[in-house]
């Protein structure tokens, strides 16, 4: 069910971004959303990194800089995990909001930093591009929070109530 939910999020986000044609980045955003959501919904650390690795490799196969998206997504999961174990240790809505925003920032920061590290300039860094990133980050974070709340209320609570009924 969790995996189906993640797949559904990817398809939904991809369709939305394709529909509105947001700066042609509709391939990157859904994967980023799916990686963060999978982290929040599932507890298996191998799955977090494995999914980020495969998603990154798939994106890299069709992008100009092979490896860039894989490293960015893996680092994003690492940052998430690190923050979750040290600063944001609970799983309340405030934590989810903070983590979603921080992860977006981390992902885009790594991509922009790679502009200086890679052999040829692939990014056209401009104020309009940075502004687009800010808007995307807000939209993506809101989408993640909305989906997590839906998932929490529909799936986890239902599961908990079923378990309660079983015990009594």
């Amino acid at each position: 069910m969790k995996y189906l939910a993640t797949l559904f999020i990817f398809v939904l986000a991809h369709s939305l971004y394709s529909l509105f044609n947001l700066h042609e980045w509709h391939f990157v955003q859904p994967f980023l959303i799916a990686v963060i959501f999978l982290y929040l919904a599932v507890d298996d650390i191998w799955l977090h990194y494995g999914f980020a690795f495969l998603a990154g490799m798939l994106m890299d196969a069709y992008s100009a800089n092979f490896g860039l998206y894989t490293i960015s997504l893996l680092t994003t999961v690492f940052v998430l995990k690190f923050l979750h174990s040290t600063v944001f240790t609970s799983k309340n809505t405030g934590t989810i909001i903070a983590l979603a925003f921080i992860c977006q920032a981390s992902f885009w920061l790594i991509l922009i930093l790679s502009y200086f590290a890679l052999p040829y300039n692939f990014l056209n860094v401009s104020w309009s591009m940075l502004w687009s990133i800010v808007i995307f980050s807000v939209i993506d974070s809101l989408l993640i929070i909305f989906l997590y709340i839906l998932y929490f209320n529909i799936w986890l609570k239902r599961k908990a109530s079923l378990q309660d009924n079983y015990h009594f």
Partner: protein, 246 residues
């Protein structure tokens, strides 16, 4: 917990770095494997549209019709390229556009690479030899093309029949091109055609690049500037060819 996180992160990071280095060393290109995966649209279409009598045949005919139209268009482009290959003395390799980079739309990924003798700096042309960009990276089965409209693109060009007078063509915000370093005494007007200069190392001179759109002239400056429009639509590129030897 933190230690385990770091260990697994480093493990996956090492795996991805290995794949990157394998690709650079041309041992194994993981991107090639990914690109061979079936297209998700086809799978989705098969799942959403199960076979059904008349409606299905109608859809099949529609698909066939659109495919034939695409083939006709491709045929036309190939004929144009064939004309160019027969008239030019350079060696050309025909390539299809696989995708565009997700962030920078002025970077194209094409389906020819090291195996076809593609090298960094070679010119990419369309139709009857109109230059549209340069190769900036080569993989096992693919290469990256930077279009002339990209901010990082630089190309030495000459003006019309004045082959000795050259300027530097650079991309402008990914939308158009601008021509710089043209001597003030050079006659330049709207509609003039630009050609590649002989100064480019791997690009033959005399190939069409674009057309002058607007000339900027100022008494206080040493050089003239001009904005250049491409002769082909860069958004609809599908079939290209790379000049592999001069």
């Amino acid at each position: 917990m933190l230690r385990r996180n770091l260990q697994i992160f480093l493990l996956f990071l090492a795996a991805s770095l290995l794949l990157i280095f394998f690709k650079e060393g041309q041992i194994f290109d993981f991107g090639f494997v990914m690109r061979q995966l079936p297209a998700p649209q086809k799978v989705a279409n098969q799942l959403l549209n199960p076979p059904d009598d008349l409606a299905e045949s109608y859809k099949e005919l529609l698909v066939e019709n659109s495919q034939l139209q695409l083939l006709e268009e491709e045929n036309k482009k190939l004929r144009e390229l064939l004309d160019f290959t027969q008239t030019t003395e350079h060696d050309l390799v025909v390539a299809n556009v696989v995708s565009r980079d997700f962030i920078n739309q002025n970077l194209l990924i094409i389906d020819v690479g090291n195996a076809e003798n593609i090298g960094i700096g070679q010119a990419v042309v369309v139709n009857n030899g109109i230059v549209i960009g340069k190769i900036i990276d080569v993989m096992q089965d693919a290469a990256v093309v930077r279009l002339l409209t990209d901010n990082g693109s630089k190309l030495a060009v000459s003006l019309g029949d004045q082959t000795l007078i050259s300027g530097l063509l650079s991309g402008s915000l990914g939308l158009g091109m601008s021509l710089q370093y043209i001597p003030q005494d050079t006659e330049l007007k709207k509609g003039d055609i630009l050609f590649t200069s002989d100064l480019n190392e791997l690009i033959p001179g005399g190939l069409v690049v674009g057309q002058v759109e607007e000339v900027e002239f100022s008494e206080g400056e040493l050089f003239k500037k001009a904005s250049i429009s491409p002769l082909v639509d860069y958004n609809t590129l599908s079939l290209l060819s790379v000049i592999v030897s001069l």
